[in-house]
């Protein structure tokens, strides 16, 4: 009987811990995967259903599956709007040195540009500019803010 109670207590504790960790991963999973932002809080739209930005992992410029999906939507949108030119702005978070971040922003913007070009968008329609860490969208110093700032943003020029 006594044994039984303590076992029950132990199980309860294990359950509670499990519930807690499940809760915290679920919350985290809502906004980031790895350290790439997956939320929509800061996102604007080029047209209905066409997000203007993609997000990157720390120090990386490789495109995630979600980023590719967004860029394919942008490519479809740009094919429909043949007279539209765009600038892709590359950005970094504040957790790096300024000059390296300028280079990193440039690399991110070009990764997005290259992907659009493989979907048939002429390079002549796309200019790139890196702002490094000079133009954060979220000025907080939290992992969430940094993940929102590691981005490339497609901006209509005309």
């Amino acid at each position: 009987m006594k044994f039984n109670t303590s076992l029950k207590n132990l199980l309860l504790i294990i359950f509670a811990v499990f519930a807690l960790s499940a809760c915290s991963t679920a919350k985290k999973g809502d906004q980031t995967s790895g350290d790439v932002y997956t939320g929509t809080e800061t996102v604007e739209y080029l047209a209905k259903g066409v997000p203007d930005r993609v997000f990157f992992a720390t120090n990386k410029s490789s495109l995630t599956t979600a980023a590719r999906e967004t860029l394919r939507k942008q490519a479809t949108f740009l094919r429909k709007n043949k007279n539209l030119n765009i600038t892709i702005e590359g950005h970094a978070d504040e957790r790096g040195t300024r000059e390296y971040n300028l280079a990193l922003g440039e690399r991110r913007a070009n990764a997005a540009r290259d992907y659009l070009m493989t979907y048939g968008i002429s390079g002549k329609r796309i200019s790139v500019i890196s702002y490094g860490k000079e133009r954060p969208v979220n000025t907080a110093s939290t992992p969430l803010a940094w993940s929102q700032n590691r981005r490339s943003v497609t901006v209509k020029v005309n």
Binding site: E99, Y100, L102, A103, A109, N110, A140, S141
Partner: protein, 444 residues
């Protein structure tokens, strides 16, 4: 900025004997040398010249010298209310035993004379332990240059007492910042090393970053986003003329001068990939120095011009590399735990200063040019971009702070620290400030 000429009129005398008092600046000085800096005696009183109150100049010049010496951490300027002799009498010949009573080991005295509209400043440095004059010099200049005279005198005294070049008659160029962090307004600004005489060189209409002096302190190279095209520019701070020098078909950034001032070395981002290039300022010939699919940036020459240290992520993460100035013999020099950026070669050639990021903290450090002997001098949440004092003893850098987790109370300030790791100080600036670059000595 108008050209300043200061003539050394005469040498009163110069003691060839080794002084008994000496300041060792190679280690952190926990026992700074007590020095008495007497107000300078003013010969002609109550006269206004060029809008300056001449009778105040004696006290004002001595205060600047005192502040300079205090800022080194190597000296302890004594309080003036304990001074035992009047400035004019002390300047003729101090009663050494009286000054020793207040525990001073060195004494600075001086005299100001106005004649023919010129300001003449005499000063003497006395070794109170040996009861000897160590140094006596006089400078003549236009009266409005009185602050520079104070800095030059500080340099002469520092040189005599430490055996090293001084760094007081210098300027710092930096980026003056204002406004919220997501819409920061940035202007180029220049000031004297002690924070006086701030001038703004751009209006803030476009983003400017990373200004750096050439060896003669007249030209500055920096990154400007003029017309939304981030390119390397050259600015003549005397004439105010600006020109784009990195006019490549893509972003140019991270510029610095070669030690002879003839070239600018910078990064150029082509199709997203940043490599290092040089441009000869006379011939405009461009030379490619690195060719690698990684990010290569933040180049800085060794003072003899034979080597370049730079930042690259060719190993996967940001590390520091050294190569010959033609781009050959690339060697990685940082292998420590963390990432490394912003390498800057010391003007003495012995050390490379850097920023290190490890476990979310930022460090300013120095290491030998082969990467050995790494010493981290200061740690904080965010700081970077060290720049050397011309004598290679002090680093200036910038630090960003916030008072709340959402970025409240954001502030960026310039700081300095001795390479001993001692004497960390905030430098007062009119606005927030970042990206400092220290000039070489103006009077050399």
């Amino acid at each position: 900025m108008k050209k300043i000429i200061i003539l050394i009129i005469f040498f009163l005398s110069f003691s060839k004997l080794n002084a008994l008092i000496e300041v060792d600046i190679t280690r952190g000085n926990l026992d700074p040398l007590p020095i008495a800096i007497s107000p300078l005696h003013v010969d002609i009183k109550s006269e206004l010249i060029d809008g300056l109150k001449v009778k105040d100049l004696g006290g004002d010049i001595s205060k600047i010298i005192e502040k300079n010496f205090k800022s080194t951490g190597l000296f302890n300027p004594l309080k003036k209310d304990a001074f035992v002799q009047k400035p004019d009498i002390a300047h003729l010949k101090p009663r050494f035993e009286d000054w020793r009573l207040i525990k001073a080991q060195a004494l600075v005295t001086g005299k100001i004379i106005i004649s023919d509209g010129k300001l003449k400043v005499e000063f003497r440095l006395w070794d109170l332990t040996a009861s000897k004059e160590m140094l006596a010099l006089a400078f003549t200049t236009t009266p409005t240059n009185w602050r520079r005279v104070a800095h030059i005198i500080s340099d002469k005294i520092y040189e005599r007492l430490t055996g090293e070049d001084g760094y007081f008659d210098t300027r710092v160029i930096y980026v003056a910042e204002s406004g919220p962090k997501n819409q920061r307004v940035k202007k180029l600004a220049i000031m004297d090393q002690d924070g006086a005489n701030t001038k703004y060189l751009t209006l803030g209409n476009e983003l400017v970053l990373t200004p750096r002096f050439n060896p003669s302190n007249q030209l500055v190279t920096y990154l400007s986003y003029f017309r939304n095209l981030p390119r390397v520019y050259l600015l003549d701070i005397e004439t105010g003329t600006q020109e784009v020098v990195g006019n490549f078909p893509g972003m140019t950034f991270a510029p610095r001068f070669s030690p002879d001032g003839k070239k600018i070395i910078m990064s150029f981002a082509k199709d997203g990939n940043s490599d290092i290039y040089t441009m000869d300022l006379d011939t405009r010939v461009v030379e490619r120095i690195t060719e690698h699919s990684s990010i290569d940036t933040s180049p800085s020459y060794s003072p003899d011009g034979n080597y370049i240290c730079f930042n690259s992520d060719r190993s996967g993460l940001q590390q520091i590399y050294v190569m010959k100035s033609d781009g050959s013999n690339v060697k990685r020099i940082t292998f420590g735990d963390g990432i490394y950026g912003t390498p800057v070669w010391s003007p003495r050639g012995d050390l490379i200063a850097f920023t290190k990021v490890r476990k979310g903290r930022f460090y300013i450090g120095v290491m030998r040019s082969d990467g050995s002997g790494e010493r981290l001098l200061t740690e904080n949440f965010y700081q970077e971009a060290p720049s050397w004092s011309p004598n290679g003893r002090v680093l200036v850098f910038y630090r960003e702070t916030k008072s709340g987790p959402k970025g409240e109370g954001f502030s960026a300030k310039l700081w300095s620290i001795d390479i001993t790791g001692y004497n960390e100080r905030k430098i007062s600036t009119e606005t927030d400030a970042s990206d400092p670059s220290w000039s070489s000595l103006l009077s050399k």
